[in-house]
């Protein structure tokens, strides 16, 4: 009996030790992913994960060796994307743009090393975004964070994770106005203020003097609507928010209808807008629709009845479609994915290129160094280049960050002091239940 129990105790001790060694080995692996590490040590680290034999916990220290080495492994940056939730359509577009950019960056390489992007899902919600960013910044230790899609999410990430650190945050798709108040938070898509101004001009030009506005109840909706209200000279017959993800908005649309305004402006997301259009259709209301960029999308067309929103006008941030570099981006994108790129994919593409150039121009792969270069590689000084390859050559020939002016496929970029880029806007009209571009507006 006593022998048995000793055996048991020994076995337990062994189990504990192996377990401990395993955990140590695994934590070694975690730190290797940080800075990439050099190839051979990095792979030792992953060997450590089968350290369950417990023989050498020392593998784990091999693993962590990787973190202070690092000349040939990939540079790892982070990205918070909306893979699920109400902005998942944007997430898909972003992914295509990012994949394409990553492919082109890695063909050339950044000083002989590759770029790797760790992507986390924000679920299109603030909480999910913060958790994703915390994982990337605190656990993976990325110095450069691309994220997020929704303006509220971007801001939440900035305020609770990025602020007070050296990490560079570059939002790929946020257009909310109040991001302008946070100069440390960069973005690739132009501020929605230009959209609101354009919408108010278009509605006035179309001869309406009264408008009913409904907006999604978050930073994005609120700030765009505030800017619209400031810009609009006419009467605002209805101005109320609605919550995301509701099963029915018939109350909202019936109130809009009873407001008496003939022009209805929707500043909301695609799923919410599709629901509203369906309910407008099935309630038999008639009005001229206007919308901000986020109500436009292929799934809106698919999920709404034919003819239910013909004549609707939407203002979307647009890529400079007449520029040569955009056209080559479009051709590559089309051959890769069999569809035309949206401007959202172009923003995500430029985020990656801009990040890669910032990394190449920086002396070291740290947040502080990247903070310095991220604005300068695409800023107005330096030689104008339109591709990563060309920009990379200048930097490789000893050029500094001010010797390069990367012109993105989404526009000239040129971040201002508030971290906002210069942008273009396109006016779309729904004709025969499809979007047609009818005009361009300067951002």
């Amino acid at each position: 009996m006593s022998r048995d129990s000793t055996d048991l105790a020994n076995r337990r001790t062994l189990l504990k030790l192996t377990g401990g060694a395993g955990v140590a080995a695994l934590s070694g692996c975690l730190s290797t992913t940080d800075d990439g590490g050099d190839g051979s040590d990095g792979s030792d680290g992953s060997d450590g994960s089968d350290g369950s034999d417990g023989s050498d916990g020392s593998d784990s220290s091999d693993g962590s060796d990787g973190s202070d080495g690092g000349d040939s492994g990939p540079y790892e940056i982070g990205m918070v994307n909306s893979l699920t939730g109400s902005l998942s359509a944007f997430g898909q577009r972003n992914k295509r743009g990012v994949d394409l950019a990553l492919q082109q960056v890695n063909e050339v390489g950044i000083g002989g090393r590759e770029l790797n992007i760790a992507v986390e899902d924000s679920e299109s919600e603030n909480q999910g975004g913060i958790a994703a960013a915390q994982k990337l910044v605190n656990q993976d230790g990325v110095p450069f964070l691309i994220g997020a899609v929704g303006s509220g999410v971007s801001l939440a990430i900035y305020e609770s994770v990025v602020q007070d650190t050296d990490v560079v945050q570059l939002s790929q798709n946020s257009t909310g106005l109040n991001l302008t108040n946070f100069p440390g938070l960069l973005r690739m898509s132009p501020s929605g203020r230009s959209q609101s101004l354009a919408l108010s001009n278009i509605i006035a030009e179309d001869g309406y003097d009264s408008v009913a506005v409904t907006y999604v109840n978050n930073d994005y909706g609120q700030s765009l609507t505030d800017a619209f209200v400031n810009a609009w000279d006419g009467d605002i017959a209805y101005n109320n928010p609605h919550d995301q993800d509701q099963a029915s908005y018939s109350g909202v649309i019936s109130e809009m209808n009873s407001s008496g305004a003939d022009a209805w402006l929707f500043i909301t997301y695609q799923a919410e807008f599709s629901t509203m259009v369906n309910e407008v259709f099935s309630s038999g209301y008639e009005a001229q629709f206007y919308g901000a960029d986020s109500v436009q999308g292929a799934n809106v067309i698919e999920n709404t009845p034919e003819g239910s929103m013909d004549g609707m006008k939407i203002v979307v941030p647009s890529a400079p479609v007449e520029e040569e570099n955009y056209q080559s981006f479009r051709d590559t994108f089309e051959s890769e994915y069999g569809q035309e790129p949206t401007s959202w994919a172009a923003y995500a593409y430029d985020c990656v290129i801009n990040a890669a150039l910032a990394i190449q121009a920086a002396d070291e792969f740290t947040g502080a160094a990247l903070q310095d270069t991220v604005r300068r590689v695409s800023g107005p000084e330096g030689e104008t280049v339109t591709s990563f390859e060309a920009a990379s050559e200048i930097l490789a020939d000893g050029g500094g960050p001010d010797d390069v002016d990367y012109q993105g496929v989404s526009g000239p970029i040129d971040f201002n002091d508030a971290g906002d880029p210069v942008g273009f806007l396109q006016v779309l009209e729904v004709q025969d239940h499809a979007y047609e571009g009818i005009d361009f507006v300067e951002g």
Binding site: L83, T84, G85, S88, A89, N217, N240, P241, H242, D243, D245, Q246, A247, S248, S250, G251, V252, S254, E255, N257, S258, Q270, A271, S274, T275, N278, F281, S282, S283, G284, N299, E302, N303, T304, P305, S308
Partner: protein
Amino acid sequence: MTVLGYLANGLVFSSIIVLGSIGLSLVYSIADFANFAHGDTMTIGAYTSLVTFGAIGGLGGAVLGLPYGFFVALVAGIAVAALVAVGTEKLIYEPLDIDSIGLLITSIGIAFIYRAVIQIRFGSESTDFDIQALRPIDALLPYGIRVTLHDVAIVVSAVILVVGLHVLLQYTDLGRKMRAMADNPDLARVSGIRTKRIKLWTWVIGAGLAGAGGVFLGLFNQLAPRMGFNLLLVIFAAVILGGIGSVYGAMAGGFLIGMINQLTPFFSNVVEALPIWPGWLARVAEGLVSIEYANAIAFVIMVLVLLVRPNGIAGEGAT
């Protein structure tokens, strides 16, 4: 829009809530835990019928603006929702030897699994049934009622299902056993009722109704992986308002919550018209009784009812 119009909208929305809340209450009364996967069971029903409808098509004729195929798809949605719920009960809830709080938390996990599976297969974007959307019924427009034939179909189908459940509970052997078990499971077992079998039937009925609710929600609005979960909070409110565990309470609660939700614009008109004094109070009231707070208003009314009747409308254990 007239009061009648708002009431009609409320009736349609209530029908969906009622279908969801009955199942939740039924499972609570017999399996004895609050099933957070109930909303996603609705989603399963909706997506099953989407697939079925896509596969079989319209099958020729149509009734109330809906092709025959849709009703076949509805039955498929009900069946698969019930099947998935029974499978989950057999595989997960039953073998787990934990108390009702443990089951509750497990069910949250189950909800995530259901949703993830749907998301893997269908993506997270919303989609809809390939059924021609309808304009409102012309004959009702003079009364300010703007409902389509589809809305009528939703209400009629919900009424048929609810009446069917009532008949089942009151006049069949199974119904009597279910009521006995809800009242006192131990006594029911001692009297020779096979409680495990009854429990399975409860899952079938509860999840089947949820599946139907999901299909109608998809028809009413559109399908998205989060559709059921987004509605779950409202359904819980309905069940608690009605008296949790009571089927008739859940019907009443679902009806009230759905109505209040859709009547909010009318309430705000009323508040604006009322001569409230002093002026600042009127402004506060107008600000609060507004469409953006439709759910909050429903919840406030729920709390008020619970203050008067702590056990909900139907009170204690009256299945």
